[in-house]
């Protein structure tokens, strides 16, 4: 009997591994197919613009409000910590670097995965469940070109813009708290920020990060929707996988990118 149990255990692990490898292979082929069909998404630009509206414009409220509050909290906590060492005037550079390098891309990415990624997965999953994708195929229209590629690129284009807006609102929130509420000198706040943040590497790296996060989240979102079991439960599980997988991918990629980007600066 123990031998049976061990064999069952091995079989389960083996099956799980095989499924994971097969799914990874399918995801890779899916990504290549999306890239192959991407020219169609730009050839008919209105399809992609529509998805930029759904993924980007409709995410503006949550991104801007979150950015504002994150910036305000950064302002409060940052001033409190810096002031202990007599460096309260450095609030501008502290807030700016935190937002542009890390918090902007990462938090905006997490919010994007929750707001837009889940919506894309649910939409494509429901289209599959209600046979809309099959209907499209039977009309000789490839869903990868008509549905998936525009949503993928809509997300990829929206994400860096949303991250930039998040950072801008964060800086504004920190200004409100640091300068208007606490009384840090306005000129010092902006001057330190201008002196301490450079377009290359700080801003550029933030843009690269947010673009990479946009690619990861958008790919996960469209793949999970396309691969969802065509049932209510299947779509629900796929949506959850998008949010969880997208968020973990952002955090893991952020670490990897940070190591590569800032190693040359002597900061890592």
């Amino acid at each position: 009997m123990p031998a049976d149990a061990i064999a069952r255990g091995f079989r389960r692990v083996g099956n799980g591994t095989m499924r994971a490898i097969a799914r990874a292979g399918f995801a890779t082929r899916f990504f290549l197919a999306v890239l192959y069909h991407s020219p169609a998404a730009f050839h008919r630009l209105q399809l992609t613009v529509r998805e930029i509206y759904f993924a980007g414009v409709l995410s503006l409220v949550v991104i801007m409000v979150s950015g504002l509050f994150v910036g305000m909290v950064l302002g409060l906590q940052g001033y409190d910590a810096l002031n202990k060492y007599g460096a309260g005037d450095s609030l501008g550079i502290f807030v700016g670097l935190s937002l542009v390098r890390e918090l902007g891309p990462v938090v905006a990415g997490l919010l994007f995965a929750s707001r837009a990624g889940s919506a894309v997965t649910a939409e494509i999953g429901l289209m599959k469940t209600t046979e809309q994708l099959s209907a499209m195929e039977m009309m000789a229209v490839d869903p990868l070109a008509r549905i998936v590629a525009p949503r993928f690129w809509g997300g990829v284009i929206s994400m860096p813009l949303l991250a930039a807006l998040f950072s801008v609102m964060g800086v504004f929130g920190a200004y409100l708290v640091g300068v208007r509420l606490i009384g840090v000198d306005s000129g010092t706040f902006w001057g330190n920020m201008r002196a301490g943040i450079e377009f290359w590497p700080d801003v550029t790296n933030g843009i690269i990060k947010s673009t990479v996060f946009g690619i990861a989240v958008s790919l996960i979102a469209v793949f999970e929707g396309y691969d969802a079991n065509p049932t209510a439960e299947g779509v629900s599980a796929a949506t959850t996988r998008t949010v969880v997988g997208g968020s973990l991918a952002i955090l893991a990629l952020d670490f990897v990118l940070t190591v590569f980007m800032f190693r040359g600066l002597g900061t890592v």
Binding site: Q132, S134, D142
Partner: protein, 306 residues
Amino acid sequence: MTAGHCGPRKAADTIDSLFFAFLRPLHDASTPRPEAAPACAVANAIEMAGVSFGYDRRRPVLRGIDMTIPRGKVVAIMGGSGCGKTTILRLIGGQLRQQSGRVLVGGQSVKELTREGLYALRRRIGMLFQFGALFTDMTVYENVAFPMREHTGLDEPLIRDLVLMKLHAVGLRGAAQLRPSELSGGMARRVALARAIALDPMLVLYDEPFAGLDPISLGVVGQLIRQLNDALGITSVVVTHDVYESLKIVDYLYFVSDGRIIWHGTPEDVRHTADPFVRQFVDGQPDGPVPFHYPARPYVEQLRAG
């Protein structure tokens, strides 16, 4: 009373028949259909010979299906749930590929078609899905216009006229600006039918077109299938388990059970056959060749086992 209704109804029927007659030349000459010629040359719209298919090797869904569907006919494929009816449609449409046997549509072997060839074939096939499968982010008008916009390159005013004609054919010209969520089940099915005939196909596949419809909608959809088939000169394959409605509109029926064709004949043959499966199916008997009980251990033995 009857006479009072007869006049307007007759007039409406005349208008309808004129309308369908107007559609006919459209089928021949309107939208570009470069591959239409080979299909016209063959007598049978669909031929299936020895077709076997299974999603995995241990559980075959279809086992040696032989079926011939002549051009211009309405043919029903009937059978219980899960017997493989929809799989046959998917093989015809090239969404699935058989493991053995041959599926010819318009004289072309579906399995051997390249992707481009398959898409060219699909442009000549309309399909009505079980619940319509309308695109929920589009209006009724946009749904019907969708295949035209994707494939024809026609000007928008011409597309508008064609869409209105298709919607008029299914009686829903007035619903053009509604969203799919605002339609009843029967209306959604009719819009899907208008979309299925948008490119004037040679063949229309119907997957359970009567499922979940009220008696009036059921009659309307049934009549539309027959009328459109005759007016447009197309071939229709109707997968259904609605015996009563099917017998009224189809030319021929195939009965599928356990992945095999077990009986076929005309509606008249169906009414008179003594075949136990067909009788059970047509008369709706709970037990027979299709057993009421799912296979299990003997009842008493299982109860005693505790």
